[in-house]
Symmetry: C2
DNA sequence: GTGCGCTTGTGAATTCGATCACGAGTTCCG
DNA sequence: CGGAACTCGTGATCGAATTCACAAGCGCAC
């Protein structure tokens, strides 16, 4: 019962397993194996088995896993039954795209509000999402039961936005700005930095084309 | 000269260091220490020193690092001098935001073209980016010297898109679709999955609020 | 020039994650 | 019922990344 500690690396893979399992279920597969799951999730079979073992999940030796039961187990581990309302801060290109993104609501992360400094936007709604001014943030968070803040502001406003979110009681932040925001230790920040991702790809490209030696 | 192997984890941090260093330079700091850099980059000082040591970089004991020199070293390691043209595949909410995003060009990743299946869009330009039909992909890639493909299509089209990119000779892919695409081993894929990120945050939220025991 | 405070660079220790390899349970066939 | 084929669960091993801790180098003050 006491779900022992699940390693961070495993947690990061659970959503992928869950998607693969959902597909398998949709395909009418009643049962599956670590090999098949591994193939679908793009990892190796031993890792799948070890990851699933942390859930206390029991497959059946010689047979495999029951797809529906595994969907249930992984869902429970991830807490998919819960709904975590999200607020999007910053309605530039990216913020707008995120506010509109339908995939979030489907997975239990409805975007319930947005924040922007632009007085023209405040008071309007964007795809059904009401836009508020930053100084209303705490109020909105409380009213809507917001659990997760998304930072999609320009870099210069990111730290300030993070501070507002923290002050409003938010403890989970998804940060798309190209900065490192600092927050109290009990707040979790996941940074998604598109430029960094590209730069990592660029690094490897450069590495694979070595003839160019210096600048 | 022979830049020994730089660990993957270090490569992923170099862009962050580079940003911090650029800020420090803009602030007029001529010199800095691993402590200050660590603070700015959100990591610890020993890690900064070890990471920088892989670059063969030499700071000065008792003094610290010369900011300009370090900017130069990190830039060279990352190959920032190079320009890697990008093509965006799929012009939904996210694809459009990415195509418009100005930050990419600034960092050497200009979006030079876009692909979409929608016949209404093909032939138009979105923020100066020409939209082509998927069957022109190889042609466009060759003409524009595209180095990196971004997949921003719906999940169902992601694998197909990846196959097209690979066939067109692309070896670096940034994948925003909530899927695992399979590609030949010499192609690098970095997956950025927004739903997964949210689910990981959700997992920790659930963990920190344990009173709810079962469902 | 000597000593002190500061900061780097790096071997050593530790932690964490990935992978291997195999024992054990299950099904099915003859 | 016996054996073959299959697949899970997991201890053991391996490797990568992080962290520790300290010797060595530098600059300044006196």
């Amino acid at each position: 019962m006491a779900t022992a500690r699940i390693p961070e690396a495993t947690v990061a893979r659970l959503p992928v397993y869950l998607r693969s399992l959902t597909e398998l279920a949709a395909d009418g597969q009643a049962t599956t194996s670590s090999d098949i799951l591994a193939e679908r999730a793009g990892v190796n079979a031993a890792k799948v088995r070890k990851d699933l073992s942390y859930l206390g999940t029991h497959g059946t030796r010689g047979v495999g896993y029951d797809v529906r039961h595994l969907v249930f187990e992984v869902s429970r581990a991830l807490g998919v039954a819960n709904t975590w309302p999200v607020i999007v801060c910053g309605l530039g290109n990216l913020g707008r795209a995120l506010a509109n993104h339908t995939g979030f609501t489907e997975r239990g992360f409805p975007v319930v509000a947005a924040i922007d400094v632009d007085a023209e936007l405040v008071g309007t709604t964007i795809d059904g999402v009401a836009v508020h001014s930053p100084d209303k943030l705490a109020e909105v968070v409380a009213a809507e039961g917001v659990a997760i803040g998304v930072i999609a502001t320009p870099a210069a406003a990111a730290q300030e936005t993070a501070d507002l979110l923290v002050a409003a009681g938010i403890r989970s932040i998804l940060d798309f700005s190209p900065t490192v925001v600092s927050v109290p230790p009990d707040v979790e920040v996941r940074a998604v930095d598109l430029s960094t991702e590209l730069q990592i790809l660029g690094f490897h490209l450069q590495r694979d084309l070595p003839p160019e030696v210096n600048l």
